[in-house]
Symmetry: C2
Subunit: 202 residues, 2 copies
Amino acid sequence: MFSGAQISLYPMTDDFVGVITSALGALDPYRERLRIETDDISTLLVGPPEVLFPALRDLFTAAARTGVHCVLSAAISRGCPGEPDDAICQSAHFDGPLLPLAERQSTALSAVREAPMTDVFSVAQFSLYVMGRDRHMDEIYGCIEFLKASGQFESSKHFATKLSGDTGALFATLEQAFCSFGPPEGHVTIDLTVSANSPSAR
Amino acid sequence: MFSGAQISLYPMTDDFVGVITSALGALDPYRERLRIETDDISTLLVGPPEVLFPALRDLFTAAARTGVHCVLSAAISRGCPGEPDDAICQSAHFDGPLLPLAERQSTALSAVREAPMTDVFSVAQFSLYVMGRDRHMDEIYGCIEFLKASGQFESSKHFATKLSGDTGALFATLEQAFCSFGPPEGHVTIDLTVSANSPSAR
């Protein structure tokens, strides 16, 4: 299965190039396990979710620690039928058959409880899309139940769910949402926005 | 059918609040035909595609004209089964049955040719998701054929298609991609990034 993301980091400062360049160092521990390609609009990361989400967490945390209002935007995808398979994407998340929803929710919650903390507060908003199934909304609703129990749930919005909390727990929650809902071999995507240090009232 | 978007505007400058605030004036002509709600991470726009896409075009063009590197990010959705119907979303795009793909591509290309120009150059990247159909990739491939003929196609990337050109033609192309592929009553979404004035090499 092919998996990865097109990501962009937006620091709201005149020195956005400096913030991005210094935050990119946070990807160094992951470079051997990700294929990384950058152009003028986004950076492609190809690899399994258990590498991708921690890499995104560390990249965003590094940028947020500057204190600048920063946003990470990502189009995350797995199992797209139009993408070639790639050995670098081999993941332990998708072994075995699709387990009952309650069992997947319980495993996902355990993973979130064990997530490392970053001491950086963030807000995340995302939409989960499960393609190619007539009953795709069952998986979406099952995911929303998990999110409500995750400790990071903030609100349901039109088209999206909003989370907030420690950036470590947030990215663990996002990884579980991405991997535990929709069939293991399915085409599943996330449209993600993560924000820190916004001056707007919450 | 319910339709709209969660959008965010990211000006990469210390004065990001000033750029956003002044660009918001571009939404004034559309306010009676859109429901608009803002929080600390995004702004919800509820309304039909023929209002939504021109509103996004004018908002982004206003921000891009400052010369600052700006990005618009949007999660655009129609027909989500979890959303209530809303009279404000009434659209001429979805009257009648699903026409043959070639016919829809031809109509979409005509609409793009008639789009007003803005004289502002932008780059756009987006993913189109068609939910609840076993053969969703047929619609995606049909859309990509349209994009390649649109005059704005730049490249196919993993997970996304990249366009560039006049911002007026770009948003007309995006509106057609959103409305002409996937069934009229279907659940269709777009994960969109539009960028202007980036210092990165293209």
